[in-house]
């Protein structure tokens, strides 16, 4: 009895930090992705704790907290997006125009993986054995994803028309949810400014809940029309307990396209290069 207790204490001491941090399992044995998450973050804690300091929507509660990296920051070690030369020119045009042509400025769905990696708005995942629903607060968008028993059985609908978020089907590979996506229109950006794509885009997302607090997210984008090879973007989603996904009706009072038009008419130079 004493020996068992001692063993248990030793085991807990050795794995103490990870025992309580294990990813929870759903009733069917798969990892449970259910929860409200913040993309593009690596910081634990509730929304306010994780976004204090100079970070996203920072409250200034903890001014010493490190800033979340903003899109203005050069990302060390980044892999350049593998665009074909003609397409890279087009991406640069948008960059130099400071993203004035961003579809999201018109309140259109921003597309993927962009909506999964942005940090300003939460994402809710609702998991059932046969369907996974992802609710994006940003632009009030949602995905209903059927979960098949295997990759071979994960079939896309045969009546697809091109859409902003495409058609998603999923299956589990070990502890990773793999989502196959096709049926996109060509009206969204993939992630950063100007990263356009064609309607031949095919994407594979991988969601791995590595701990209670964290999902490792990976998106592989293939587009023979604009890319030279698959483009892989990796990010993390952090659990935000106590946060709820709320209504965000972007078109309510969208003044920006009109202001863009006026600025352009006035010939104001906002070009980067």
């Amino acid at each position: 009895m004493t020996r068992s207790l001692l063993l248990a204490v030793c085991a807990l001491s050795a794995f103490g930090a990870t025992v309580s941090d294990k990813p929870p399992r759903a009733s069917d044995g798969h990892p449970d992705l259910t929860g409200v998450w913040q993309g593009g973050s690596t910081r634990k804690g509730d929304w306010e704790e994780a976004n204090s300091g100079e970070g996203v929507g920072g409250t200034g509660k903890d001014p010493k907290a490190p800033a979340n990296i903003s899109p203005t920051s050069a990302q060390a070690g980044r892999e350049p997006a593998p665009y074909q030369p003609w397409a890279a020119k087009k991406v640069l045009e948008s960059f130099n125009k400071r993203g004035i042509d961003d579809p999201a400025a018109y309140c259109l769905p921003p597309g993927l993986p962009r909506m999964a990696v942005l940090g300003l708005f939460p994402v809710q995942i609702v998991q059932t054995p046969k369907q996974i629903v992802i609710l994006y607060e940003y632009m009030n968008a949602f995905r209903v994803i059927p979960v098949a028993e295997s990759a071979a059985k994960a079939k896309h609908h045969d009546d697809m028309v091109p859409t902003y978020l495409g058609d998603s089907v999923a299956h589990w590979e070990g502890n990773t949810l793999v989502v196959d996506m096709t049926g996109f229109n060509d009206k969204t950006w993939l992630t950063a400014t100007g990263t356009f794509h064609s309607d031949k885009l095919h994407m594979t997302e991988r969601y791995t809940r590595v701990s209670k607090d964290q999902i490792n997210y990976e998106a592989t984008m293939e587009d023979p029309v604009v890319l030279t090879k698959p483009w892989v973007v990796k990010s993390t989603m952090m659990l935000r307990e106590g946060t709820r996904v709320q209504e965000y009706v972007c078109a309510e009072n969208n003044l920006d396209p009109g202001r863009y038009e006026n600025l352009l008419k006035q010939g104001i130079n906002f070009q980067k290069q």
């Binding site: 993309g39 593009g40 690596t42 306010e48 976004n51 100079e54 996203v56 929507g57 920072g58 409250t59 200034g60 979340n68 990296i69 903003s70 899109p71 203005t72 920051s73 050069a74 990302q75 070690g77 980044r78 350049p80 997006a81 890279a88 020119k89 991406v91 640069l92 400071r98 993203g99 999201a104 400025a105 921003p110 990696v117 942005l118 940090g119 300003l120 607060e137 992630t191 950063a192 400014t193 990263t195 990796k234 993390t236 946060t243 709320q246 209504e247 965000y248 009706v249 972007c250 078109a251 309510e252 009072n253 969208n254 920006d256 202001r259 006026n262 600025l263 104001i268 906002f270 980067k272």
Partner: protein
């Protein structure tokens, strides 16, 4: 020790390379000029809790006593409510506040608000930092030769 240094470097590289852009609804730089910071004090005349951006208006008196009404843009209500703002409590018409932000490119009395200092000295963010959403320092692609 050497291993620890490598581990630290590897962790830093991972954090930096995995960090993703934080987009607001639209590009900061398309409308506002990061080289034109502005700090103004005045009285709140109107607040709009609307999407995709909230706004407030401020009566600002100059040295000669002339009053100009300024409009400031910031986060949508969902973002404000998640970061400590309470509608009709945190900011009210008639409050005297100081706001730091950046002016619109068209030179009108319109600006992007970043930090607000309310009457009791408490500071809150009303909008994201300059440059948010306008593509960052480097493009997603390498420069085309």
């Amino acid at each position: 020790m050497r291993h620890l240094r490598w581990l630290f470097a590897a962790v830093c590289c991972f954090l930096l390379s995995s960090a993703q852009p934080v987009f607001a609804h639209h590009s900061f730089g398309a409308e506002y000029d990061a080289d034109k910071p502005v700090t103004l004090s005045g009285t709140v005349t109107k607040i709009e809790w609307t999407n995709p951006h909230s706004h407030f208006y401020l009566d600002v008196k100059d040295a000669n006593g002339n009053v100009a009404n300024w409009k400031f843009e910031g986060y949508p209500p969902v973002v404000l409510s998640r970061t400590g703002w309470k509608r009709d409590v945190t900011l009210k018409v008639g409050d005297n506040i100081t706001v730091f932000g950046w002016r619109s490119r068209d030179g009108t009395n319109w600006a992007h608000a970043r930090q607000i200092t309310v009457a009791d000295g408490h500071k809150l963010y009303f909008g994201p930092p300059a440059g948010t959403g306008d593509g960052g320092a480097v493009p997603a692609v390498d420069p085309v030769k």
